[in-house]
């Protein structure tokens, strides 16, 4: 049974007759310009909203009296994701002036094989907060879907440029775009995807949201620059690494959550909470990513393993291991450039408990993320978000 919080004081209302066991959200007592009776919206409307947005396959599990239901976040927003990919394709095609290779290149990474984690987070947060603030209208939802679209596009545009910068050869199990086509064109394709994303963003007609998401771009570039730098002081290294992880990964998730909550009319605390959720999930995601780079094989990941070491990057496992094996400091400082450095670092990391410590830190961030959602109204989507934290922690690719 869903627990909506305390009983509302006013059981009688002039607008709508109260229905049976009326429970209201914590809205009572909160400064609200709407009439209290809004909180009497019969649970049926909420169920209808949820049902409308759940995947049709899971319709049978949406039963208000049945306690157990599938709250896997990916299936909660399943059909929306599929239509998301189609929408992205049609937007990218729609802006082409002339048929050229650009059409093929820009859609190359939008093949539905990605994890689509960012849109899932954005959509689940959107739905959860829509229920929380009771803003269940179509326009808000349409705009929130656009945010999910944009977050995936920004992510992919950064992937295209990253593959050029890291001279990657494979991604998601196929040739990287700069290998298949060439460098110059890939640069332009990345810019194209970004341009189309910006246009969609402007179409939402909300200056706040535009400001929030433009910050993501600045953070992404800053993260790349931070990666080029080497901090000599060991004490600073970890903080530098966490800041870089925020900039490269968590920033997009955090700001798209924030944008969606702003669109659903959340309070300042709501906005801050969703930002913290996105931020911590993002950092945990990046930590697990760095962990998997050591642990997984290339087939599972879809991209080559131990790539970070090859690129000279010192990630969390290495930094943890350096506390136990100080000789790693020299290797980190010269970015594993000498012969045999990569192998030595790999060996030392597996010998130390760098990997376990990384996982532990990721778990801490997941817990922080979940606790940021404490004030959120209960719903399938909130449970989905909590489950997402678990998925991020325990994924294998």
């Amino acid at each position: 049974m869903q627990n909506f919080g305390r009983f509302c004081q006013k059981l009688r209302c002039v607008c709508t007759p109260p229905t049976s066991p009326v429970r209201c959200v914590k809205a009572v007592g909160r400064a609200r310009s709407t009439h209290c009776c809004v909180s009497f919206r019969p649970p049926l409307v909420r169920e209808r909203y949820v049902a409308r947005n759940l995947s049709t396959a899971d319709h049978r599990t949406v039963k208000s009296d049945d306690g157990s239901r599938d709250t896997d976040p990916f299936s909660l927003v399943g059909p929306q994701l599929k239509s998301l990919i189609n929408d992205i394709h049609s937007e990218l095609d729609g802006h082409l002036v002339r048929d050229s290779e650009l059409g093929e290149m820009s859609k190359y990474y939008f093949d539905g094989k990605g994890k689509a984690l960012r849109p899932v987070i954005a959509l689940c947060v959107a739905h959860a907060y829509n229920i929380h603030t009771d803003r269940l209208d179509e326009l808000t939802l349409k705009n929130q879907r656009k945010i999910a679209l944009i977050s995936e596009m920004i992510h992919t545009a950064s992937l295209v440029h990253d593959d050029i910068l890291d001279h990657a050869e494979t991604r998601r199990g196929k040739e990287s775009v700069n290998l298949r086509f060439n460098t110059k064109k890939s640069t332009m394709a990345g810019d194209y995807i970004l341009g189309v994303g910006s246009k969609i963003l402007a179409g939402i007609q909300e200056p706040d949201v535009v400001e929030i998401l433009s910050q993501v771009l600045a953070d992404l570039v800053e993260g790349e620059f931070m990666q080029l730098q080497n901090k000599d002081d060991e004490g600073e290294r970890f903080e530098h690494y966490l800041n870089k992880s925020f900039n490269k990964t968590a920033s997009l998730m955090a700001y798209s959550c924030k944008a969606n909550v702003v669109l659903s009319g959340g309070s300042k605390e709501d906005v801050e909470n969703s930002f913290q959720y996105g931020r911590n999930i993002g950092i945990a995601f990046q930590l697990v990513d760095d962990l998997l780079d050591f642990v997984s094989s290339a087939d599972q990941l879809g991209k080559p393993a131990a790539a970070d070491l090859q690129l000279g990057l010192a990630t969390a496992p290495v930094l943890f291991a350096a506390r136990k094996f100080p000789e790693l400091d020299d290797l980190i400082a010269r970015r594993f450039s000498q012969e045999g450095d990569v192998e030595k670092a790999f060996r030392l990391v597996t010998e130390s408990n760098g990997l376990e410590e990384t996982k532990e830190l990721a778990r801490k961030h997941c817990l922080k993320a979940v606790s940021a959602l404490d004030d959120l109204t209960e719903s399938e989507y909130k449970t989905g978000l909590v489950q997402l934290a678990d998925t991020v922690l325990n994924r294998l690719k």
Binding site: K184, Y192, G195, L201, G203, F225
Partner: protein, 413 residues
């Protein structure tokens, strides 16, 4: 200390790649006073290798017009964004660019062109937007700077425009290197390839940095319609890169179906016309001008950009251009294209080099183009666009801002 580092870096860039200009011949500088069409290039007297500082302002109608305009509305801001990039603590770009000195990466040339040849090389987009803002008037907006007649948001828009243009130029200086450079057996080639890769990295990152800053700047203006128009311009110029046939290095090759004036216009309309047009239109939006002025501003921007491009290409072939003695030049520039319309033999000759355009005998192509009517036709093209631009400019109120803009346009013909 930061600026000292920056300036010393730039000095180094200047000295290692000497300017190729005709000034070494000792001809009088006032040769180019506007009335005569450009003389044909004279190979015997061309000489390379004099490193004259770029502040050597030539007496030239264009430069005069630009200086006058700057006095009216303030200094052009293109230098600001690139300088900001170079002296930023976080990005440490000066250090990265320093590592690139001595390599052949085009991004170095681009940066030099953008930083040093501001006046002489068409870095006037921001200036044009400012002039137009002054010409149109503030329309009741109080956030105006009375000295220059430009609203603060319009000035920010001009800066953003320059940032985006700079980012576009820098992204276009990326070279195509094979992805797996470590597999190259030859040691020397491998070093060169890795240097080029590093240059690419710096180019992409700088371009992205400027683009990201431009986007945050745009968002801070808090008018979503402006963001939409500028985003449309970005979408357009990224597509311009894909038009036409290219060799593996990304250099353009003219083919029988792409040498018409419409092709040239389409490409440059997408590439730079869209950006300047959107910039002008958005500046008018800031001061809430009526619909006809918005449209006029957009068309004016597009035609101005096309005129500037034609003028630029014409200058390249002129006596001051840097393409003496066989250096490669863009084969899809207007003079070449117009010439190829009547010279099929040369067109066929060029088709042979679709695998590697560096093998073309550029000296021969240059001679033939200069002998033909390519340059005159380009001059005519420039004049056409200037005339169309003037038509739209006349819709704006008559004042010194408008006059300065007119002077700039007329300086090109």
């Amino acid at each position: 200390t930061k600026l000292i580092l920056l300036d010393s870096l730039l000095q180094e860039i200047m000295l290692t790649k000497p300017l190729r200009c005709g000034l070494g011949r000792g001809l009088s500088l006032s040769r180019q006073t506007g009335d005569k069409p450009f003389r044909k290039f004279n190979f015997e007297t061309s000489r390379l290798g004099h490193t004259l500082p770029a502040s050597y302002v030539k007496v030239n109608k264009w430069n005069r017009a630009v200086s006058e305009a700057e006095k009216l509305v303030g200094y052009p801001t293109s230098l600001m964004s690139l300088r900001a990039l170079m002296s930023d603590d976080l990005t440490n770009m000066a250090v990265h660019f320093r590592k690139l000195i001595g390599t052949d990466h085009p991004v170095l040339k681009t940066v030099k062109r953008l930083l040093y040849h501001g006046k002489n090389n068409m870095q006037v987009r921001g200036l044009l937007v400012l002039l137009l803002s002054r010409a149109a008037g503030s329309n009741g907006n109080s956030d105006i700077d009375t000295n220059t007649g430009v609203i603060n948001d319009q000035r920010k828009l001009a800066e953003i425009l320059e940032m985006i243009y700079t980012s576009q130029c820098i992204h276009q200086s990326v070279v195509n290197v094979p992805v797996n450079t470590a597999a190259e057996p030859d040691e020397q080639v491998r070093t060169v390839l890795q240097q080029l890769e590093y240059g690419n990295k710096i180019a992409i990152l700088s371009g992205d940095y400027l683009l990201a800053n431009a986007c945050t700047g745009l968002a801070a203006l808090r008018v979503p319609k402006i963001v939409e128009l500028i985003a449309q311009a970005i979408v357009e110029f990224t597509q311009a890169e894909f038009l036409g046939k290219q060799d593996p290095q990304g250099k353009l090759l003219p083919t029988p179906d792409t040498i018409l004036q419409e092709n040239w216009e389409e490409k440059w309309k997408l590439s730079t016309g869209g950006l300047l047009g959107a910039g002008c239109e958005c500046a008018m939006m800031v001061s809430k001008q009526p619909e006809e002025l918005l449209k006029a501003a957009k068309e004016l921007g597009v035609h101005t950009a096309l005129a500037i491009q034609a003028y630029d290409e014409m200058k390249l072939f002129s006596v001051d251009g840097s393409i003496g003695s066989g250096a490669p030049f863009p084969l899809c520039s207007a003079p070449v294209m117009f010439h190829l319309q009547s010279d099929e033999e040369l067109l066929d000759y060029l088709q042979q080099f679709s695998e590697d355009l560096l093998q073309v005998d550029y000296r021969m192509v240059l001679t033939r183009v200069c002998e033909g009517n390519g340059l005159e036709k380009t001059h005519e093209l420039c004049r056409q666009h200037v005339d169309k631009g003037l038509e739209y400019l006349r819709k704006f109120p008559e004042n010194d801002g408008r006059q300065a803009y007119e002077n700039l346009l007329l300086a090109m013909v």
